[in-house]
């Protein structure tokens, strides 16, 4: 599902943010990526969403070879990958329903279908009935679940969640993680980065540790000892 082959990303001034990273993620896998700040986790995600191009190496996601992507393929690629951010990136002047519908509108989904689909996803993330609220009226955990709803509403094969619990207290963080697990059970490949030792150790999933731009460990049932 995701294949990185000796990928290096060098920004101009500093040394390489990622150096010869190779990673293979199977379909329906749940992979947690850990590592200290500045280790290269965010760079990895930016490479996967094609916000950045690798300096060298090969990236193939869902059968698409990034080397062969044209500029006009990038929007299509991004519609196939759901993305969740630490800071939610919701539109505060739109209601919850509008925020989720936004992802479908961009993809040219007919309005009728949007009306039909959004409540189902709201139900999945446990926010049914809050469609007409605005993001700022919700708690952080609820807002992150809205962001997840928006990311999965187009039924992507892959969901990338970059520190989704970073701004949340433990209870809300777990609400978010449970939703991610549920989505994974339905068959979506999930890539999650987190600093939360508790979450990593409780989930008992594959853990990839990145440090200074290198993968230093990759364990099927990993632990995280903190940094």
């Amino acid at each position: 599902m995701i294949l990185l082959d000796r990928v290096t990303k060098t920004y101009n001034r500093r040394g390489p943010a990622l150096e010869r990273i190779s990673l293979h993620v199977e379909p329906k896998e749940f992979v947690i990526i850990v590592g200290p700040s500045g280790a290269g986790k965010s760079t990895l995600f930016k490479l996967l969403t094609r916000e950045e191009k690798p300096s060298s190496g090969k990236i193939i996601v869902g059968g698409m070879d990034y080397e062969r992507l044209n500029d006009k393929d990038i929007p299509l690629l991004r519609r196939k990958i759901g993305v969740v951010f630490q800071d939610f990136k919701l539109l505060n002047n739109k209601t919850i329903h509008e925020n989720v519908a936004f992802a479908l509108e961009i993809a040219g989904i007919p309005t009728q279908e949007i009306k039909h689909t959004v409540p189902k996803v709201m139900d999945l993330v446990g926010l049914l009935g809050k469609e007409n609220h605005y993001p700022l009226e919700l708690s952080g955990g609820e807002r992150q679940r809205v962001a997840i709803a928006r990311a999965i509403v187009r039924q992507p094969k892959i969901l990338i969640a970059d520190e989704p619990t970073g701004n949340l207290d433990p209870k809300h963080a777990w609400d978010v993680i449970k939703v991610l697990e549920k989505i994974n059970r339905f068959g979506t490949t999930v890539l999650l980065t987190t600093h939360n030792q508790d979450i990593v150790n409780t989930l008992k999933r594959r853990v990839v540790t990145i440090k200074d731009g290198h993968i230093v460990s990759d364990r099927a049932v990993g632990h995280y000892k903190g940094v």
Binding site: K53, K72, P75, K89, L91, I106, A107, G108, I109, R150
Partner: protein, 313 residues
């Protein structure tokens, strides 16, 4: 066109209209500037048409009158006409006999019995004349040269009348028209540039205000056109609104002007003709105004979005 594309196009328009409403306060400066530009353009067009009309009016009346001595015989006259026809720049020649001249004179002076008392058909001091209409009223040299020949001059009772005062007026108007055309073109270009800059800046601000939304759109996989399109729709609407405002203002001005000044001349500008021209060409003017408004709007927002929306990654 696929159904999805059609839906996308519809949403681009819808979002453009929504953004237009949302941005209206920022957009007012841009719209006002564009309305001024379009108004100047409209006045330039109307003034140009009016000047050409005035010039035509006057030049069609310009002529050269050759007054013949009473002693000139019919064969001499016919020979002269024949010679004149061969002269360069002569369009037509009309012979006015002494009797015809008298009739015209009487008609022109019906309310002046004193003048009429002095003349009658038996005592007719008016000379017969040849009325020459030139093709090009600004260049009467060839005609003048011919008439100044001694043997031709000998046939004439009075000095030739070249409608000299009219020629001076034509020269003045031609110069003024040329000046106004040049000033108009420069002025229009300057104003178009200013309005484009203001629209450019308005869109830059709109992009800045909505940068979060634009980043999210991009990350969620919106195509560049889906992001750019609404900005362009928005500025096209500026153009349409500005054109309608401009036309409304001009329409009111012409209506008021033609009522109060009623077909009088305003310097070189014949207001009556201007407002007639305006109402005769209302639809063409509206079309031109709206198209230019749309072009200015679309061009400046295309530039602004190209410059400030980082869409290619």
């Amino acid at each position: 066109m696929s159904k999805r594309r059609l839906i996308a196009l519809e949403r681009i328009f819808k979002n453009g209209v929504i953004n237009f409403g949302r941005n209206i306060w920022i957009a007012i400066a841009a719209i006002a500037m564009m309305a001024i530009t379009l108004t100047i353009l409209l006045f330039a067009v109307v003034a140009n048409a009016t000047f050409s009309h005035t010039i035509n009016e006057i030049t069609s009346h310009i002529d050269v009158s050759v007054y013949l001595k009473d002693s000139v015989t019919e064969p001499q006259r016919d020979k002269l006409i024949g010679q004149l026809k061969a002269v360069e720049n002569v369009k037509s020649i009309e012979y006015i006999s002494k009797n015809e001249a008298l009739k015209t004179y009487v008609k022109q002076n019906t309310d002046n019995p004193d003048l009429l008392a002095a003349i009658s058909e038996t005592v007719n001091p008016l000379p017969a004349s040849l009325n020459i209409k030139p093709n090009e009223p600004n260049d009467l040299q060839s005609i003048k040269k011919f008439l100044d020949k001694p043997e031709i001059a000998a046939l004439q009772s009075d000095p030739t009348s070249y409608s000299g005062d009219r020629k001076a007026a034509i020269d003045k108007i031609t110069r003024a028209t040329k000046f106004f055309q040049e000033a108009g073109v420069i002025g229009i270009i300057v104003f178009i540039i200013i309005s484009m800059l203001i629209i450019f800046n308005t869109i830059r601000m709109a992009i800045f205000n909505r940068r979060d939304e634009l980043v999210i759109m991009r990350l969620l996989g919106a195509t560049p056109w889906y992001i750019r399109g609404p900005f362009i729709v928005e500025t096209v609407l500026y153009g349409v609104v500005a054109a309608l405002i401009s036309l409304g203002v001009c329409w009111t001005l012409f209506a008021v002007a033609s009522q109060t000044l009623e077909a009088s001349s305003f310097g070189l500008l014949d207001i009556g003709y201007s407002s007639q021209y305006f109402s005769d060409h209302l639809w063409q003017i509206l079309t031109i105004q709206i198209s230019i408004g749309i072009i200015i709007g679309a061009a400046s927002s295309a530039l602004a979005t190209r410059r400030y929306l980082k869409l290619n990654n």
